[in-house]
């Protein structure tokens, strides 16, 4: 834990982050304004507030998640990425983060457009549906693929808009969105370096993590 964390007396302590969130946190400059969409119980926000002294806000679908955030002194509202991002003004935040939530939105294209509008940078992570295990699963078993990141049956999954890395980069190209940084992650959540547009990344990465911005 950084010494900065103890200066916020509202923070009892800042626990370490799960792998992909730690990578997100690394991308964020200290003191920035951050909107975390789908903030859960505020793990990332607590870390960023405590360690990087960011001005953070969260949006979370579950009321219990929001209440937990506020109980811990974080700013959060109950809301949903599809409906509520439209309320925020352009350029209001340095970073708009959407971690492992894109595939559960009703209109991911619009959500991405809002993220790069609201944030000078958008940070988006999602499970790669092009991973070889998923392809094999469907081919060999003939059943809808499940993985440790996508652990639901087809009939009750919240993940209604799954995509591959190639699908995602094709959409950002179509929307004229620049990819400032990208990280591919393996099964253990460890980053490895491959061109996210390439064939190998699309086969080998279990997750993609992108920092985006509007072109120009």
């Amino acid at each position: 834990m950084s010494p900065d964390a103890s200066s916020l007396s509202g923070m009892a302590g800042v626990p370490p982050l799960r792998g992909d969130l730690a990578l997100v946190a690394e991308m964020i400059e200290p003191g920035a304004r951050v909107l975390d969409v789908g903030c859960g119980e505020g793990e990332l926000l607590a870390y960023l507030t405590g360690v990087k002294a960011v001005d953070g806000r969260g949006i979370e679908l579950s009321q219990s998640g929001v209440n937990a955030c506020v109980r811990h002194g974080l700013s959060a509202i109950q809301g949903d990425a599809d409906r509520d991002l439209a309320d925020y003004p352009t350029g209001a935040f340095d970073y708009a983060v959407l971690s492992q939530t894109l595939q559960a939105t009703r209109n991911p294209r619009q959500v991405i457009e809002h993220l790069v509008r609201i944030g000078r940078h958008a940070i988006v992570s999602f499970p790669n549906f092009g991973h070889w295990r998923i392809r094999m699963h469907l081919m060999l078993s003939g059943r809808m693929p499940r993985s440790h990141l996508l652990d639901h049956s087809w009939y009750d999954t919240p993940n209604i808009h799954l995509c591959t890395l190639k699908d995602f980069t094709a959409l950002t190209d179509e929307l004229g969105i620049a990819i400032e940084r990208s990280v591919t992650l393996d099964r253990a959540g460890q980053p490895f370096s491959l061109d996210p547009r390439g064939h190998f990344a699309n086969l080998l990465a279990e997750q993609g993590l992108f920092m985006l911005s509007r072109r120009g």
């Binding site: 916020l8 007396s9 509202g10 923070m11 304004r33 001005d55 806000r57 009321q63 929001v66 209440n67 955030c69 506020v70 109980r71 811990h72 002194g73 974080l74 700013s75 959060a76 509202i77 109950q78 809301g79 509520d84 309320d87 925020y88 003004p89 209001a92 935040f93």
Partner: protein, 388 residues
């Protein structure tokens, strides 16, 4: 500013104890009238710290008063927020300095229709000017100035208290470090106005009301006021809570009596609510304060765009609503949140799951207390307030 802190007379002190500020400068009201001098009756709890940074202003609701955390001088019941405010509690008087003022137009010592109009030496009655929520807040600001507090750590309140919180944050953003509007709305809805009108008509239909002159005629429109309270009280509860509490249970009898006595427990309960209310409240005051709520529409003052009421605000907000509150429902509270999001203000929004209706903000709701405490702790950390 010329102000005096006066000692009320002994009789007055026994009836409505506490502190008084008399302001001799005129208060310019929204109606165009001006009021001078005027009195603000208030209570404080805890100690103001050396840099005057730990003050919390509590804004009371329609029928509330300044006796937040001490027995009520008339009813002897515990203060209306004594579950929340006190040593070691969520509003910790060991840490914070709590201030609550009786609203302008109220009947617990602040200037209002019950008080003597100093110009004529008789009660104001209906000659008291019609006031608004913004007028209440203007008067409170004089008090905060008088106490030498340049920035309130927090302004909080529920229902009409929440309207005052919004008005404070809008009118004096640099004086409000954090704001907690609870179970409230940025405008009174047609339904809200309609219920208030029922209450007012009940009072005015009571012959004892005497066109508002009952004080001078030594009369008391207690029946009208009690009916107003009964009707309002229903709106403070949820259907579910009423059912859980009373169902169709009969009152001390085995069967219905085929008459109009209070056969049902719920009738008896409401009658009790009405009768006990008139001991501590003034009928004309009820007219004035309900009117102030009805006139409240913060967006209207800002070109119809609520976000404009808060543009550039440095205040940290926490909006709180309750699932079963149908008087100030979550949807109304969410409009406040949307307006604050539209200007990227620092806002939290919590909806508390409860079946207790609008009244939940006055009751012991652990989730509500825990989130409020978390919000205040977070704000205190940002403000650099030390722990108690």
């Amino acid at each position: 500013m010329s102000t005096d802190t006066v000692q009320p007379s002994r009789a007055e002190q026994a009836l409505r104890p506490g502190q008084r500020l008399v302001v001799s400068e005129p208060l310019e009201l929204d109606s165009g009238a001006s009021l001078r001098p005027y009195t603000i009756a208030y209570q404080t709890y805890g100690t103001l710290n050396a840099d005057r940074s730990n003050a919390i202003l509590i804004c009371h609701a329609l029928t509330g008063d300044q006796y937040v955390a001490e027995p009520h001088p008339v009813t002897g019941k515990p203060g209306w927020w004594s579950t929340l405010a006190g040593p070691g509690k969520t509003l910790d008087t060991d840490r914070y300095y709590l201030i609550c003022a009786n609203v302008l137009g109220g009947c617990m010592g602040s200037s209002g229709p019950l008080e003597i109009n100093p110009a004529i030496g008789r009660p104001w009655g209906l000659s008291f000017p019609v006031i608004t929520v913004a007028d209440m807040v203007r008067a409170q600001k004089k008090l905060i100035d008088h106490l030498g507090i340049t920035s309130l750590f927090c302004v909080l309140g529920g229902s009409m208290g929440g309207m005052q919180v919004l008005q404070w944050a809008s009118s004096y953003p640099d004086r409000v470090f954090s704001a907690v509007p609870i179970a409230t709305a940025a405008r009174h809805s047609a339904q809200n106005i309609a219920f208030h009108e029922v209450g007012r008509q009940a009072i005015m239909a009571d012959p004892e009301w005497s066109q508002g002159n009952y004080l001078e005629l030594s009369r008391n429109p207690s029946r009208g006021l009690a009916v107003a309270r009964m009707a309002a009280h229903i709106t403070y509860l949820s259907e579910q809570a009423l059912h859980r509490k009373f169902g169709r249970a009969l009152r001390n009898r085995e069967a219905v009596t085929y008459g109009f006595d209070a056969d049902f427990e719920v009738e008896s309960y409401l009658r009790h609510q009405g009768i006990s209310f008139v001991d501590r409240f003034d009928a004309n005051s009820y007219l004035y304060i309900t009117r102030a709520c009805d006139y409240f529409d913060l967006a209207a003052e800002h070109g119809g765009v609520l976000a404009n009421a808060f543009r550039g605000t440095p205040t940290r907000f926490c909006v709180i609503s309750f699932t079963s509150d149908w008087l100030y429902p979550t949807s109304e509270n969410r409009l406040i949140v949307q307006a604050l999001n539209a200007i990227a203000a620092n806002v939290s929004f919590v909806e508390i799951e409860t079946d207790k209706g609008h009244d939940a903000f006055l009751l012991d709701e652990p989730e509500f207390f825990a989130t409020l405490r978390g919000f205040l702790d977070g704000c205190a950390a940002h403000r650099g307030l030390s722990r108690a």
